[in-house]
Symmetry: none
Subunit: 254 residues, 2 copies
C-alpha cells in the first residue's frame, strides 16, 4: 500500500503542506521518492504518522514528538508527565490572568468602588461571626474555647500573601461559577470544579473541613442577604446554583 502526499493527507486528515513540513524537519520522511520527485509513503510511514498525530492532539510540540517517536526506548509516559506539568503551569498562569481581568472589569465598571482589601476585610469579619453563630456553641463544646479562638486568630493573622491568594481564589470561584451557570447544570464538571475551588477557599478559614459544614454554608449563602448579593451580583440565582453544586459535590442532601 503506497500513498502520495495527497492520499496520505486525506487519509490522516492533514494538509499536504503539513506532510512536506514534516519531511523538511525530518519528523516524517517518505519511504522513497519516485522518478518524478514525488513523495511516496508506505505502511510504516502511515503508522508513524498516526503516532505523531496522536501526540500532536495532546498538544506536545513537534520537537518532543520527534524524540518520542524516533527513539522507541524513550519513555513516552515520562515525556507525557512532563508535558502535563507544563500544561498545569499554563493553566495556573491563565487562572491568574483571568482573576486579574475580572478584577479590572469590576473596577472599571465602577460598580465596585470597594477595594479588594476592604471587601476582604468585610468578608473576613462576617466569616468569623457566622462561624461563631452557627457552629460556635457546638464546636466550643466539642473542642474547647481555645481551639475556636485559635481558628478565629488564624483568620485575623493571615499574611498579605495569603490574603492575595484568597482573593485570587474567590475570583476564580466566581468566574468558574459564572461559566458553569451558563449551561445550568450544577452537576456539570465546571460547576463541580467551582465547588472544589470553593472548598480550597474555605480551607483558609476553617481548621477542619467537614462536608456537613460545607453544605450548611452553601445553604447559608442563599438564606443570608449579604452573601446572596455577593454571588448574585452579575447573575441572579447564582447563589442557589452554587448551593446546589456544593450539595452535589459533598454528596449531601443530593
Amino acid at each position: 500500500m503506497e500513498y502520495t502526499v495527497q492520499h496520505l493527507g486525506k487519509l490522516a486528515g492533514v494538509s499536504t503542506r503539513t506532510l512536506r513540513y514534516y519531511d523538511e524537519i525530518e519528523l516524517l520522511k517518505p519511504a522513497r521518492i519516485n522518478s518524478s520527485g514525488y513523495r511516496i509513503y508506505g505502511q510504516a510511514e502511515v503508522d508513524r504518522l498516526q503516532q505523531i498525530l496522536f501526540y500532536r492532539e495532546l498538544g506536545v510540540s513537534l520537537d518532543s514528538i520527534k524524540e518520542i517517536v524516533t527513539a522507541p526506548s524513550f519513555n513516552g509516559a515520562n515525556a507525557l508527565k512532563e508535558h502535563r506539568e507544563q500544561l498545569f503551569d499554563k493553566r495556573k498562569q491563565l487562572d491568574a490572568l483571568i482573576a486579574n481581568v475580572e478584577k479590572t472589569i469590576a473596577l472599571t465598571e465602577g460598580r465596585v468602588t470597594m477595594t479588594d482589601k476592604e471587601k476582604f476585610e468585610g468578608f473576613k469579619q462576617k466569616m468569623i461571626e457566622d462561624n461563631e453563630e452557627k457552629y460556635g456553641e457546638e464546636i466550643r463544646e466539642k473542642y474547647g474555647d481555645e481551639t475556636v479562638d485559635k481558628s478565629n486568630q488564624k483568620i485575623k493573622n493571615m499574611t498579605q500573601e495569603q490574603q492575595d491568594e484568597i482573593t485570587r481564589l474567590a475570583n476564580e470561584v466566581k468566574a468558574t461559577l459564572a461559566e458553569a451557570f451558563k449551561n445550568g447544570d450544577p452537576a456539570s464538571e465546571l460547576a463541580q470544579a467551582a465547588a472544589g475551588l470553593h472548598k480550597m477557599w474555605l480551607s483558609y478559614y476553617w481548621n477542619e473541613y467537614s462536608k456537613e459544614a460545607h453544605a450548611g454554608l452553601a445553604q447559608m449563602y442563599v438564606d443570608d442577604e449579604r452573601f446572596k448579593a455577593y454571588y448574585d451580583e452579575k447573575q441572579p440565582c447564582t447563589a442557589e446554583f452554587l448551593r446546589d453544586a456544593i450539595h452535589i459535590y459533598t454528596g449531601l442532601k443530593k
Copy 2:
C-alpha cells in the same frame, strides 16, 4: 521630563528593543526625534506606555491594545470582557487537553485499560461522522434532513441493552471472522456467516440497508486506518478479508 529609549526602558522595565518595536508597529511613537536620530519620549508617552503595559499584563494582544489606547471612545471594559471570554475558552481547551493527557498516562501505565464501552463510544461517533460525510448529502437529498437526523439520533439514543447487544454482536463478528480467516476463503460458509452478522450489526446504525452502502463500508474498513486497526488487531489483513467476504455476500464487485 524627557527620556531616551534606554531611560524609558529602565523606568518601565522593558527592553529598548520593545520600545523600538512599538514605534515600528505604531503602538507608541516617541514625542520627537533629536538631531542625531535618537528617540525622545515625553510625559504623555510615559503615560501611554503605562496603559499599554497594563493591558499587556492582562494578556491582551498588541493589536487589541492599539485599538483600546488609540481610540479613547473605544470601550475598554467591553474589550476586556471579550478578552475574558477568550481566556475562558483557552482554559476550557487546556482542561480538555489535560484530561486527555492524564487519560493517556493512565492508559500507558496499564492502570486503566480502555473499556469496550469507551472504544465503542469513539466508534459510534465516528460512525455518525463517516456516514454523514459519505452518504449524508445523497441521503439528505433523497429522504430529507429529518430522516437523516433521526437516524443519527437513533445511534445516540440507543439504550444500554441495545448497546450491549451491539457489543456482543461486534464481538461475535470478530470471533467468527477470526475462525473463518484460518482457511483463508472469504466465500466459505463461516466467512459468509460473519458477513451476515456484520449486516445485523449494521442494522443498529442504519435505518435503511442497501447492498451498495454495505459494500462501500467494507471498502472503507480497508482504507481507513482507524477501522483497519480495529479489525486487524489480532491478525493482519482481517479487514481485507472482511471486505472480500462482504463483497461476495452482497454480490457486488465480487
